[in-house]
Symmetry: C2
Subunit: 176 residues, 2 copies
């Protein structure tokens, strides 16, 4: 083992600032959503994708890829959301292993109520203090890191299913 390439002081500061920014931001967004309408950030993301899907209906596996979540995380999440009446399940005709998840009225109501406040918070806390150039630079930077994450591969997973760099996918700023 060769001597590790330690981080320089300014690298450490940048790294920690990045982590701190994310954790505080996520905490704020979670609390805002929770306070405003009893949703978590995870609920919100699922609801966004469902509400954008045709008929408010989607296959779990499709959601999984879109959200880039672990399969079991999504499964648990959907179970909880079903229990709270935000979504329901339907057996799937074409592929009887699978299922359809679909938005209930309560679910659509929840996302419609939640979206404006959430987007406003994202804008106020994140976009407002930044310039357009800074946002663009962050986007570029994230793309580079994601590309590295991809082709560095899960070590021991030599052939990764190549797909999305920050291609679209509607996120926080949706129109209900």
């Amino acid at each position: 083992m060769t001597e590790p390439r330690w981080l320089a002081a300014d690298e450490q500061r940048a790294w920690r600032a990045f982590l701190l920014m994310h954790s505080r931001l996520a905490a704020r967004l979670n609390r805002q959503l929770q306070a405003a309408c009893g949703l978590s950030l995870a609920d919100y993301e699922v609801l966004v994708h469902l509400s954008e899907a045709a008929g408010g209906r989607a296959r779990p596996h499709e959601l999984q890829r879109a959200l880039d979540w672990e399969q079991s995380r999504l499964s648990h999440q959907l179970a909880r959301m079903r229990q709270r009446g935000l979504v329901t399940r339907e057996r799937c005709g074409e592929d009887r292993r699978g299922a359809h998840v679909l938005l209930t009225d309560a679910g659509r109501q929840a996302i419609t109520t939640a979206a404006p406040g959430h987007v406003e918070t994202v804008r106020r806390l994140f976009f407002d203090p930044l310039t357009e150039d800074q946002v663009a630079a962050l986007h570029t930077l994230a793309g580079q890191v994601l590309a590295r994450l991809d082709d560095d591969g899960a070590p021991g997973d030599p052939e990764a299913p190549r797909d999305e760099a920050p291609r679209d996918a509607g996120g926080s700023g949706r129109r209900p």
Copy 2:
């Protein structure tokens, strides 16, 4: 409520790229640490701060501020770490409400073993694909967002305990 300021398409993409970068990065770092030495990222952070403290000893409240964690999160975390033999507790002389947490030999061993691989992974996945200017720009950007998070205040928490935003390091190319 006025019409919300929805996110433009490129803003959405940037935002989602940022979130995706963080979640994938965190997942990778967690797995690497877990595989290499059975530590979580949270364990690692606690151990780092403890190992940098004089005598491998610190007050919980001090750790809490340094890590920017919720109090109960730290308390639970320390309980688990104590149970696994990474740290121990000591009653505190000066303030008998409090305690000292101190690194055990096993804890010091763990952080010593973990650090090179962790730093190497951070460098490979995060710093290597970026230029110095990009890192500096990210640092600046994070500072701005953190400042906003601070003075936006926890709504209903008008007087926040002012503390660190990453002081910007001079000289690196940037233009707000």
